[in-house]
């Protein structure tokens, strides 16, 4: 391979893997900065200062329309390196569940969940419900739940009112299990109610 070509390959190699490293560092510093690890929260300011470096290079402080930021985001998204690799880390949190209380015109009530056919799609649905459960933005959560409620209503056309119950699910701890407490507990966090609008076929907030 010619030296010039080699140098250009080497530059691409360094730039690409440099971005991978920056994204990973940014994610790790973020966890440390927000006190989500075993490292004492008192060191938060140190991590915040360190995080300023990847944040600046990745252009995260720039306006959403800034060309540099967009170029970085386009490249990292297109190559699959836009997120870090902290799977199931630093800790495995409680999981979330979304249950729909479906009220029919004749007064009877059924409990349903958003349904998919395959196990692979179920993993994706779980990922979605997890993120709905973790969001702090009420309107975003309500919009996503409303859309899932609509798909549930489409499978059960007789429904006139859907009450969505979003909550965390806690499995028994090892100690609980040994003590004979073997049940999962559902702690309801949010309740959203949707009436089905017959003219548009979409669930709306009453």
């Amino acid at each position: 391979m010619r030296a010039k070509r080699r140098d250009s390959f080497l530059a691409c190699f360094a730039a690409h893997l440099g971005l991978v490293a920056l994204v990973c560092l940014h994610e790790t510093f973020w966890l440390l900065e927000h006190g989500l690890t075993v490292v004492p929260a008192t060191s938060s300011s140190v991590w915040q200062k360190l995080d300023a470096v990847p944040t600046a290079i990745l252009g995260e402080n720039l306006a959403a329309t800034n060309p540099y930021r967009r170029a970085i985001l386009t490249y990292t998204n297109a190559t699959g390196i836009e997120v870090g690799y902290g799977y199931f880390a630093p800790n495995v949190p409680e999981t979330h569940a979304l249950v729909f209380e479906c009220h029919y015109a004749d007064g009877h009530v059924e409990y349903q969940s958003a349904a998919v056919r395959s196990e692979e799609a179920m993993l994706r649905l779980t990922s979605l419900v997890e993120q709905i459960g973790r969001t702090d933005y009420d309107r975003w959560r309500e919009e996503l739940v409303r859309r899932l409620a609509r798909s549930t209503w489409q499978r059960h056309p007789g429904v006139v009112l859907v009450r969505a119950l979003l909550g965390s699910v806690a499995s028994p701890t090892i100690a609980d299990y040994r003590a004979g407490n073997r049940k999962r507990t559902f702690k309801c966090l949010y309740v959203d109610e949707f009436k089905v609008d017959r003219s548009t076929g979409a669930p709306t907030t009453p």
Binding site: L123, I132, R147
Partner: protein, 321 residues
């Protein structure tokens, strides 16, 4: 030897194309399994505002805020609409095109165009899936990106048999494998480091939770409880294995042990948590990156120019990457 020479020698170390055969075939198989498992849900996951589970346009609108240039299924649906195809027809066509690309990759037929089509369509699906995507999608994108830019076709492909191509520069093959190897080191190092930072990985709590929360609770909770005494050791083992991977995968004395251990870990994740796709893609990437060349082919990889096998062994270097 200057630092630049050292870096260049490391990055452009000559290699055979056996790893590329493994990557091509493995990614084709992973894509096929991914598509087959989602065949009944494809339109629900990626359908529009009225027909989909959430509605693809919502996630694509969010994607546009990041960058309007990131590929998405909406482009293909719009293209289909131009020639009178409804979304209900366009989406299965995309599924079919991706499946065809996966089969072409498995066979090694039109390897480069198949890799480009597979990369573009899989990326579009992963991005349009938005919050319905998870880690396995990113890892497939990473694998397909490296496959797409690698010097295809490889010698085990039908392309090679049907239209014999000229030999690919072994240095270039080594370069592309090196990127994949270092990327995997980043994945495990940071994955392991963030696990080490969580208290639950040191006392077994996180493994207990991971194995007992739905939908990963494939094993009966009683079985997991019977393992309670070894969960802390397993958790620490996972942390140490992932963090040390980046260092111990390189020396010849530890490479096979680390590779086997990491592959067993992924097999375990697949079987006990039902994350088959995630397990498969990690196995493919690991084997393509670090499996010894003679395991795949019974051949030894080419040596650096002007170097004999004896000289390499005398220099204390391994023939393996």
């Amino acid at each position: 030897m200057t630092w630049k020479r050292r870096v260049t020698d490391f990055v452009f170390r000559p290699d055979s194309d056996r790893w590329l055969s493994l990557l091509r075939f493995g990614l084709g198989a992973v894509l096929f399994i991914f598509l087959w498992s989602l065949r009944g849900d494809w339109n629900d996951l990626f359908g529009g505002s009225r027909s989909g589970l959430i509605g693809r346009p919502l996630f694509e609108a969010l994607l546009s805020i990041q960058s309007p240039l990131i590929p998405r299924l909406g482009w293909l649906v719009a293209l289909g609409a131009q020639i009178g195809l409804s979304e209900k027809l366009s989406l299965p066509l995309v599924w079919g095109a991706l499946l065809a690309a996966a089969l072409f990759l498995i066979l090694g037929l039109y390897s480069r165009p198949a890799a480009i089509v597979a990369f573009f369509l899989q990326l579009a699906a992963a991005k349009s899936g938005g919050l319905l995507s998870y880690g396995a999608d990113n890892l497939i994108t990473i694998g397909l990106f490296y496959l797409m830019i690698a010097p295809l076709p490889d010698r085990w492909s039908l392309d090679w048999a049907l239209r014999r191509r000229r030999e690919v520069d072994p240095e270039r093959l080594g370069f592309h494998r090196r990127i994949l190897q270092i990327h995997l080191c980043f994945i495990y190092f940071f994955g392991g480091l963030t696990k080490c930072l969580g208290a639950g990985w040191w006392d077994g709590t996180n493994l207990w939770r991971a194995l007992t929360i739905p939908p990963f609770d494939l094993l009966p909770i009683g079985v997991v409880a019977s393992w309670a005494s070894i969960l802390p050791a397993l958790g620490i083992g996972v942390c140490l294995l992932e963090t040390s991977y980046a260092f111990l995968i390189w020396p010849s004395w530890s490479r096979r042990t680390i590779l086997v251990a990491v592959c067993l870990m992924h097999v375990g994740i697949g079987l006990t948590m039902g994350m088959y796709l995630f397990a498969l893609i990690m196995l493919v990437l690991n084997l393509a990156a670090f499996a010894p060349a003679e395991v795949a082919s019974g051949e030894k990889p080419p040596l650096p120019e002007g170097q004999t096998a004896d000289a390499t062994l005398l220099a204390g270097q391994s023939l393996l990457p």
